[in-house]
């Protein structure tokens, strides 16, 4: 098998990896805001629950969480799920896992904002919602970009864990190719693709940092 064919097959898997990556971001970035606000809530039971949630999500393996989500409908609720549920379970697990990490990053950003910004907004009559979305959040985004970059780069590599519940992403394809073709080349190609993707993410993050670099506080 020539390298071109291998790359073609790996790219098919890579499309699935990107789907896992993209859907996780689309779900976890906003869900993280909700979790962070819960974690910062004045209502103690909610604060406690989100704290436990974050602790479990960070304290247990993502692979185990994927299996838990995959098997839960059958073992807990007695619902039969089709083969297509593999992918759904994988995405759900990724989203709830990454939302916990994002939430802690958001919290660090929100708590780093000086009280004066809230007071200035309050004096000017902004509602709490307006204060959060117009004054606090835009500044928080700038502050948390480097930490988010870390997490997003980890995510693209973590998509290979989807292999464990049988989602045929790029790592699955490369492993199959290595076994059938008796060569390390597919792994090297896969590694190159992951790395190039990370370079693109790094580029995107630094562009965003430059764009928000028009001010400092």
């Amino acid at each position: 098998m020539n390298i071109g064919t291998m790359i073609g097959m790996l790219m098919q898997g890579f499309v699935i990896s990107l789907e896992v990556f993209g859907l996780t971001l689309v779900g976890a970035v906003p869900l993280g805001v909700v979790v962070a606000l819960g974690r910062l809530s004045k209502f103690a039971p909610l604060r406690f629950l989100t704290k436990i949630y974050i602790s479990i999500m960070r304290g247990t393996p993502l692979m185990l969480q994927m299996f838990a989500v995959f098997f839960m409908p059958y073992y807990v609720f007695g619902i039969e799920t089709g083969a297509g549920f593999k992918f759904t379970a994988c995405i759900i697990a990724f989203i709830i896992n990454y939302a916990a990490y994002f939430a802690e990053i958001y919290r660090s950003g929100i708590q780093s904002m000086p009280r004066g910004q809230y007071e200035a907004a309050q004096v000017l009559g902004y509602s709490p919602t307006q204060t959060f979305f117009r004054i606090i959040l835009p500044q928080v985004i700038k502050r948390i970009l480097p930490a988010m970059g870390n997490e997003i780069i980890t995510l693209i590599k973590d998509t290979s864990l989807a292999f464990s519940v049988g989602v045929a992403e790029m790592f699955t394809s490369s492993k199959a190719l290595v076994a059938s073709q008796r060569t390390m080349v597919p792994f090297m190609i896969a590694a190159a693709i992951y790395w190039i993707t990370c370079l693109l993410i790094e580029f995107g993050i630094s562009r965003a940092e430059k764009k928000l670099g028009y001010y400092h506080d």
Binding site: G116, E119, A120, Q122, V123, L124, G125, R134, Y215, D217
Partner: protein, 243 residues
């Protein structure tokens, strides 16, 4: 319109404690329309707490407190202040506040720092608000900086945007601030200032209140309080402030 005889801001018998510490102990203060009042006194005397409560950043434990004819809080049967949320909201439309630290929004331009709240909160017309803001910036000699963000301005310029008047300003800027405060007052606005600059307080104020340990130890015309203080605590404070 407010009757010129009604104080623009009136606080009667204000009390406030943080835990066991009494910060304000029966303080009464009012500012008439067009009047400039400065509060001076040592750190911890209660000046800032007084101003924070007057600007609704904090609440009195008990007080009768009103903006013109709008009552913001009054005491209930148990003697504790009861605030009306509607009155608080309405009162916030009636005053502006300038912080010791600039507290500009760093991600907004100078112009947007001034116009965002009137447009977003008070739902006023953008064109009109921006025209007013440009006029204000012209008065402050900051017109050319309208589209810069705060970090591109010098400290003094930031402070002028924030409309604050005190020590970080050089003498020329202090004179500018003094003129601006007088202009605002001549338009009928009541101005309350907390400052540690005695010279500035004397120049800009009509009246000065000297706070000490949560009480008003002395209050009177600016020149008299600074040049001929009656209360021994004021004398001691002023002689130390000169050093």
């Amino acid at each position: 319109m407010t009757n010129p005889q009604t104080p623009a801001v009136s606080v009667l018998h204000a009390r406030k404690s943080f835990g066991n510490k009494v910060v304000l102990d029966d303080v009464s203060l009012n500012i008439m329309p067009g009047e400039v009042l400065s509060m001076i006194g040592p750190s911890g005397a209660g000046k800032s707490t007084m101003l924070r409560c007057m600007t609704l950043l904090d609440r009195y434990d008990s007080a009768q407190f009103s903006y013109g004819d709008l009552s913001v809080c009054d005491n209930g049967q148990d003697g504790r202040a009861i605030y009306s949320r509607d009155a608080e909201r309405e009162a916030r439309m009636r005053f502006g506040i300038v912080f010791q630290h600039y507290n500009l929004f760093p991600h907004y331009t100078v112009l947007k720092n001034i116009t965002d709240a009137p447009i977003v909160v008070q739902k006023r017309d953008r064109t009109e608000v921006e025209a007013e803001a440009m006029e204000l910036l012209r008065q402050l000699d900051l017109l050319e900086h309208a589209n810069k963000v705060p970090c591109e301005l010098s400290g003094g310029q930031q402070q002028r945007v924030a409309d604050e008047a005190t020590s970080a300003l050089d003498p020329k800027l202090t004179a500018d601030m003094q003129r601006l405060i007088r202009v605002l007052a001549s338009e009928g606005m009541a101005v309350g200032i907390v400052t540690h600059e005695m010279g500035f307080a004397k120049l800009v104020s009509d009246r000065i209140a000297f706070l000490f340990d949560g009480e008003i130890a002395e209050e009177g015309p600016a020149e008299q309080v600074i040049d001929d203080p009656q209360d021994p605590r004021t004398r001691r404070f002023l002689s130390q402030a000169e050093d």
